[in-house]
């Protein structure tokens, strides 16, 4: 187990390095730069600016400078917002994004598991049909449209929750964004849970448990729920990274002060520092989540370790 874990962690390092390089070169090879404003800068100012951010060096030198800094945990300066380092920006924006995504993750997973179980136990009765409908809505309606509809109905029409914006510490402002973010995730989880639960309820050992006189509640609690969770567990990792990227969109739509707002603006301004920094941060999170999922899997299933 330890050997497998070590191998897996070591193999993630070159992947991370290559991915960073890909991002770096794609960004730098694209036309346009952070200093192409509406008004052209005087050549001397431009040259000084470029020298300050070492943009005047050959690309390969810039690359090594960047990697060297990255290894020291420095993501470099923002090239558009003056006196602002990328790390500071991430420190400001990322906790919010993480809170939003994790809140949605916890709520959605809990609701999804519960709904999937209820639907599986009541297969082809009304709770099942209600769930199928809710899942369909969650999977089909894109998040920006869902956001618009919820803003209109609960924000403007009924006036229950604020339709957008952010006041520090007000959970009311989080209700609609979290709903938008959590719905599709809950839908997928409940669909997985329903499917695997129905399969488990049809197995022989569940029949044995029933035939020896266990109550339905005990059958579920002792025999059915645990094995039914396995396919759901494998979705949790990708699901969380999905929520983290999805939260960029939701922040943009609801005007929340997470990292998503900065990212889109930075991409439009060609602020290499911020775009690269954010992308790398997300990449590391996704790689780490994949790693954790793999390790959990290897722990659950010894066959995986020797592949």
């Amino acid at each position: 187990m330890l050997g497998y874990a070590l191998r897996r962690v070591l193999s993630a390092i070159p992947i991370a390095l290559i991915a960073v390089s890909v991002c770096f070169f794609i960004l730098r090879l694209a036309p346009g730069g952070p200093f192409d404003g509406e008004r052209a800068l005087p050549p001397l100012v431009l040259a000084n600016l470029r020298a300050h951010y070492s943009l005047d060096q050959p690309l390969v030198v810039q690359y090594f400078i960047y990697i060297w800094r990255l290894l020291h945990g420095d993501l470099g300066p923002s090239m558009v917002i003056e006196g602002f380092s990328v790390s500071r920006l991430i420190a400001i924006g990322f906790p919010f994004t993480l809170t939003l995504a994790l809140t949605a993750f916890v709520i959605a997973t809990a609701i999804g598991l519960l709904a999937g179980m209820v639907a599986a136990v009541n297969q082809n009765k009304w709770p099942d049909y209600v769930l199928v409908l809710a899942v369909m809505i969650g999977v089909i309606i894109p998040n920006f449209l869902m956001a618009a509809l919820l803003q209109l109905w609960f924000g403007v029409h009924l006036g229950w929750f604020p339709a957008g914006g952010w006041v520090t510490g007000s959970w009311m402002h989080l209700v609609l964004p979290v709903t938008v973010l959590a719905w599709p995730h809950a839908a997928r989880i409940s669909r997985l849970m329903r499917g695997s639960m129905i399969e488990i309820l049809g197995t022989n050992y569940v029949r044995t448990a029933r035939s020896k006189g266990l109550g339905e509640r005990l059958v579920l609690a002792r025999h059915a729920i645990k094995p039914a969770l396995i396919p759901v567990v494998s979705y949790l990792g990708p699901g969380l990274s999905y929520l983290l990227t999805g939260s960029l969109a939701v922040e943009q739509i609801f005007g929340l002060p997470g990292i998503g707002k900065y990212f889109v603006t930075a991409a439009l301004n060609r602020d290499y520092g911020i775009v690269l920094g954010t992308t790398i941060l997300y990449m590391f999170i996704i790689l780490a989540l994949n790693l954790i999922v793999d390790l959990v899997y290897a722990w659950l299933d010894p066959k995986v370790r020797y592949r």
């Binding site: 992947i15 991002c23 960004l27 036309p31 209109l152 029409h157 991409a267 954010t278 997300y282 996704i286």
Partner: protein
């Protein structure tokens, strides 16, 4: 001489009936799949509705009295008005919403079509090559897929679109170039089992080159999973495109797409509801149909999965 089991008599009888065309015909796998698909009411209705949407989106503009960029100065921000021919009302610039929705649907369909073709083409070839050659080639190729999986997808598309300009072609290619990853994985998995089959062995023994084996023997046998997955890719691409357009990174004015229309309609939907209802309705209907078609195809082509 008739055998003891009477097998010859049965076979002779069958041959005679075949000659007079009375025998029951065999069914091919495709026919089986089509029959199962046509028994699935939701899928059939979805196919019809989707076909109607496609036809109307491409033929409709010729029958609408207004074009998508034409401004009607007498009707700005007006609800549906049948006398003037604004069946879905007009937007803030006095442009006919029906014409704009038709053009937007067209754009979304074209993006989805081209990006799907791009992603299927790359994914199938890549996956089949990796799976067929196996070993070190496979390891390297799949590592590359792993790396690309680690890139945050939507960030990557935003970067592509922003950096290289808002060019619809780039939008197609950018979205397609990312959607192929899952396809490559599925195809590789299938190829790994297919290449051990006897018919591939026979082709190799007959001296066929690897490329011939891949294109002639392996790819045709991948049709089922590829078709299923491609149908499921289309709605994802439509959502990605409309999201980019929603952020203002998609197609440019006066051209439009469903996402752009929704992004303009959403903020004013309280006072001008028709501006949101029409594009949102079309988008949801399309996605719903595609989902049902995908599910129907999966049940039809892969019955063991039910």
């Amino acid at each position: 001489m008739a055998g003891i089991t009477g097998k010859d008599a049965v076979l002779t009888d069958y041959a005679n009936r075949l000659a007079t065309l009375e025998a029951p015909k065999g069914r091919s796998l495709t026919q089986d799949a089509l029959r199962r698909l046509s028994n699935n009411k939701a899928a059939v209705v979805s196919i019809v509705v989707l076909a109607l949407i496609v036809i109307i989106a491409f033929v409709g503009p010729y029958f609408v009295p207004w074009t998508y960029s034409q401004v009607d100065w007498t009707a700005i921000r007006k609800p549906p008005d049948f006398d003037k021919g604004h069946f879905f009302g007009t937007d803030q610039n006095g442009r006919d919403m029906l014409a704009r929705v038709l053009q937007g649907t067209q754009m979304s369909l074209i993006v989805a079509g081209v990006a799907t073709v791009v992603s299927v083409a790359i994914g199938v070839v890549y996956g089949a090559v990796a799976g067929y050659f196996g070993g070190r080639v496979d390891a390297v190729m799949m590592r590359i897929v792993d790396i690309m999986y680690a890139l945050p997808y939507i960030l990557f598309v935003i970067i592509l679109v922003v950096m290289f300009g808002r060019n619809p072609v780039l939008l197609f290619v950018g979205i397609g170039a990312i959607e192929w990853l899952t396809m490559a994985r599925i195809v590789r998995g299938q190829t790994l089992t297919l290449k051990e089959k006897e018919f591939v062995e026979a082709a190799r023994a007959g001296g066929a080159k690897p490329w011939t084996i891949i294109t002639r023997h392996i790819v045709p046998n991948l049709t089922g999973p590829v078709v299923i997955y491609a149908t499921l890719t289309v709605p994802e691409i439509i959502i990605a495109e409309s999201f980019l357009s929603y952020l203002g990174l998609g197609v440019q004015e006066p051209q439009t797409s469903l996402g752009t229309l929704i992004s303009f309609g959403a903020p004013v939907a309280e006072v001008l509801p028709w501006m949101l209802m029409a594009p949102a309705g079309v988008l949801i209907t399309m996605l719903l149909c595609l989902t049902y078609i995908g599910d129907g195809l999966r049940d039809a082509l892969d019955p063991k999965d039910r």
